[in-house]
């Protein structure tokens, strides 16, 4: 536990020291919320659809999706930092520590999700002050939902990092993962609208684990539960983390090349 605490403490401290990263993490969703949201409010009509009991503004609709994009970017960024550490050699310190690689990866994953949760809390606080508010219980219930989604996306990042041998390749992978996951999800538009206008896209969205992370957060913010999304998020978390463990165990040849 001491090693896990140290890894989480270091990640949080690093994040707080890197003010630019903190600001960038918040600016992205805030631009979507304040500019994109205001612009699309008039264009997109939203029907009453669970978990909402009444008509809502478009900005209100996209807040859970923006929480999702924060943890998605954070998960990929954490994976990037692992690739960077591996490339620069600083990963060696972790590899000689008297902890198993499984424990090391789990610690890294929890550390990354904790940083993601911290970012989302700050974002929700700002959203609160610009008038997008939910019941206090919603914030409490959303916390584990956000954390779980962050774990799933962090595990996806870890699994991807096993496939990447060079730092410069990571940007491409991020573009192929982050943007398709974000745009082909329920983050920006509800599923029923896609089912009416682009049924094929609706199918993709339904299979996108990111959509289920966003829905889990959305329902939790309104003190409701979607068991389907919860099950999919947990299943994907287990799958991605298993793939990451397998990747780090089986890529000794890569370690050989790296640490020659």
């Amino acid at each position: 536990m001491s090693a896990m605490r140290a890894i989480i403490w270091r990640e949080l401290l690093r994040f707080l020291h890197q003010r630019e990263r903190f600001i960038a993490a918040l600016v992205r969703p805030l631009v979507w919320l304040l500019i994109f949201g205001a612009g699309f409010r008039a264009a997109l009509g939203l029907a009453i659809y669970p978990p909402y009991d009444t008509y809502i503004r478009y900005e209100t609709y996209i807040v859970p999706g923006l929480c999702g994009i924060i943890v998605l970017f954070n998960g990929m960024q954490s994976a990037l930092s692992i690739v960077y550490d591996r490339e620069m050699g600083s990963m060696k310190l972790l590899l000689v520590a008297p902890i198993s690689r499984q424990w090391m990866l789990l610690s890294k994953l929890i550390a990354s999700a904790s940083v993601g949760l911290l970012q989302v809390w700050v974002f929700l606080l700002i959203a609160f002050f610009v008038g997008i508010q939910v019941e206090p219980l919603g914030y409490i219930l959303a916390t584990p939902a956000i954390f779980l989604t962050a774990l799933m996306l962090g595990a996806l990042g870890l699994a991807l990092s096993t496939l990447i041998t060079k730092l410069q390749n990571f940007a491409g992978v991020m573009n192929f993962v982050i943007f398709p996951m974000f745009f082909a999800s329920t983050a920006l538009y509800p599923l029923w609208q896609m089912q009416e206008n682009a049924p094929w896209l609706a199918k993709v969205v339904e299979f996108n684990p990111f959509s289920h992370g966003v829905e889990l957060i959305r329902f939790a913010l309104y003190s409701k539960m979607t068991w389907v999304s919860l099950s999919i998020v947990v299943a994907c978390l287990i799958l991605f983390f298993t793939l990451a463990l397998w990747g780090y165990q089986s890529r000794r040849h890569l370690l050989k090349r790296k640490f020659r």
Binding site: S90, V96, K256, F259
Partner: protein
């Protein structure tokens, strides 16, 4: 005293064989220099002993513990100084130490931190970020960090690379002093001027031990240079 023994170790990077049927024994006391030019296999040996790499074949024993087991559990009584900078530049000197102590599960380490930071001339810099330290101070901090668990073995992979000669000599002297205090020091280098007369020297060439003995027995810097094909790869005093 903990000996390091490699027995019939094979290791390759893909199709390139680096170590073949390689055996090595380092007694658990004093200062041992693993000396060789680039490509001799020095860093591979370091990574195998550290458990970062796993041999294709053969046995690596640290005392009576197999290195493959140590990979998971028993690196706590070894100190490592890597060729690369493994400090977190965003964290201060003390925060880097705290992170390391947490990783290695150390308790009640603060009194030792103060002693070591003072001994290695880093006490004044204890609140500075690692990024703002000069090269010599960074290396010293890595050594302090490695010494924190009070290790029986201290293994350093080209710890003075990139430093100017005066600082190199100072660091070399400090580590030699540690060896005299009873730490088993393994110093991997291609620099002859970091070795003292009574140090054990293991000459490596192309993944094989070419010769071994004390620095004096091998004829000092000139004697060692004459034994190598690639003489230019070894820097002289």
């Amino acid at each position: 005293m903990t000996d390091i023994v490699l027995e019939n170790v094979n290791f390759s990077y893909g199709k390139k064989t680096v170590l073949e049927n390689f055996s090595l024994s380092i007694k658990g006391e004093g200062f041992t220099a693993l000396l060789g030019a680039n490509g001799a296999g020095k860093s591979t040996i370091f990574n195998l002993i550290a458990g970062i790499l796993v041999s294709d074949q053969g046995k690596i024993m640290i005392g009576d513990v197999n290195a493959h087991d140590r990979l998971q559990r028993h690196t706590a009584n070894m100190g490592f100084v890597f060729q690369e900078n493994t400090l977190d530049p965003e964290l201060s000197v003390q925060q880097n130490i705290r992170y390391f102590a947490g990783l290695f599960g150390l308790k009640n380490y603060q009194p030792r931190v103060e002693v070591l930071l003072k001994e290695f001339g880093l006490w004044q810099q204890r609140s500075e970020k690692a990024a703002s330290l000069n090269g010599g101070h960074r290396r010293r901090l890595e050594i302090v960090r490695a010494l924190l668990p009070n290790p029986e073995i201290l293994i350093l992979d080209e710890p003075t690379s990139g430093l100017d000669p005066t600082i190199r000599q100072e660091i070399s002297n400090q580590v030699h002093a540690l060896a005299k205090q009873g730490v088993n020091v393994v110093w991997i280098t291609h620099l002859l001027d970091e070795i003292e007369e009574h140090d054990q020297v293991i000459l490596l060439e192309k993944g094989r031990i070419k010769e071994q003995g004390t620095f004096a027995e091998l004829g000092g810097a000139q004697g060692i240079k004459s034994k190598f094909v690639a003489k230019e790869a070894l820097l002289q005093l």
